[in-house]
Assembly symmetry: C2
Homo-oligomer: 242 residues x 2
């Protein structure tokens, strides 16, 4: 069982900003090469799921890690609050068209996990509906995997204090202001409820395991996500077709 309250949002002792940033440069070069052979190899697809509290750095990961790769083979889809039209459909309806084909790396910036998270915290759906979503999501991920579409799931672990600081920045910094949404400012009680629900999700959907990334420091977060993607791609035995 993963207990999020016992997982630090800070880098471990011994991590250093400068070294991490230098390492990220190398990792980006590796990712650039690996994604090229991943595309050419053609046997696999890859789905990368980014989840985390508001301001935990999902956009930052897209900006600093995913940009290392050729966008011809890498797409990011951000899932916002469902529209009226989307709410007339089953929750996976807006998701399914974006699952990756073979050769492609697809990033979900938020995902179908929001369809468990928000209904649980806001109590908009019955327990039976929510329980079935766990079952279905596990079945979908297993099915993708058997079809050689691998799933890498990241939870960006940020502290309440760091989150507050980032949201405050959004109110003042000219290049961050556009991201400010008063709905991001939630009570301590609700924050706790979101974290508990994330914990349930992470433990309830562990068939394809979650990577919990300490995300208070952007430089450490970026490096760690890049390492995990690099290691996954490296493990595939990719090769250029003869």
């Amino acid at each position: 069982m993963i207990d999020l309250s016992n997982i630090s949002s800070l880098p471990p002792d011994g991590a250093h900003k400068h070294a991490s940033k230098e390492h990220l440069k190398e990792l980006r070069e590796e990712l650039f090469e690996l994604q090229n052979v991943f595309y050419a190899d053609g046997r696999f697809g890859l789905l990368i799921i980014l989840q985390g509290m508001d301001a935990s750095g999902k956009d930052g990961v897209c900006r600093h890690v995913m940009t290392a790769m050729n966008p011809m083979g890498v797409q990011v889809k951000s899932f916002k609050k469902p529209t009226e039209l989307e709410l007339q459909q089953d929750f996976l309806w807006r998701i399914y068209p974006h699952f990756p084909a073979k050769r492609m790396i697809q990033v979900f910036n938020r995902s179908y996990y929001e369809d468990i998270l928000v209904p649980t915290v806001e109590a908009t759906h019955s327990k039976a509906v929510i329980a079935q979503r766990y079952t279905l999501i596990n079945a979908v991920e297993e099915n993708l995997d058997l079809n050689n579409i691998h799933v890498l799931k990241f939870f960006l672990q940020i502290s309440r204090e760091e989150q507050a600081e980032r949201i405050a920045e959004r109110k003042t910094l000219p290049d961050k202001k556009w991201k400010y949404n008063h709905a991001d400012e939630i009570s301590d009680a609700k924050w706790k409820h979101y974290r508990q629900t994330y914990e349930q999700i992470i433990n309830g959907c562990q068939d394809k395991p979650w990577h919990i990334i300490p995300a208070d420091k952007r430089w450490y977060r970026n490096e760690q996500v890049a390492i995990i993607i690099r290691d996954h791609l490296k493990g595939l035995g990719l090769k250029y077709p003869a």
Copy 2:
């Protein structure tokens, strides 16, 4: 356990062609009214799945039953052999966008069940992949149901003899010729394998039960399908919003 070899493809004693056809006219009027209030009511969606051997009458059901209803609220999607593009994706990728929204009646003329059927008979996929498709399909149908998208599944049961006759007609009748495909002519052994696989599918995906329709007589088949859809719609307690 449903044993298809024990289910007749012929109407029961006492069924009469003329009476059935007259009844269908009434049923069509009922369906016309019911679909209108279904649309206005807005709480539900309906997915109707038509499966059956080649020439078992799936197109005929669309033509003689579904036409009773306003096409503004009724859509038919026919799933053919997957294309090269579709094969690069998970098997539900081409399906999901066509699941009905609330208010809508969506007919699948063939469906995701083909993605168990054909891979099993043609042995194109591993047992693990096929087993996971059963799991996933059951989870999807349960999820749709919990979202008020109901699923009605029909298997059109036709005899080998009647099928052979209809395929022979396709070779000669001018208005049927366009439907002829030499791939429909399969050996007795393969026919049996298809029927066994259908039996596995029907028994393995019974959470939302199958309706087995004796389909050697078109008039009986149409009447029975119309009755089941009518009864389902009637059971919903539909009403025009105030």
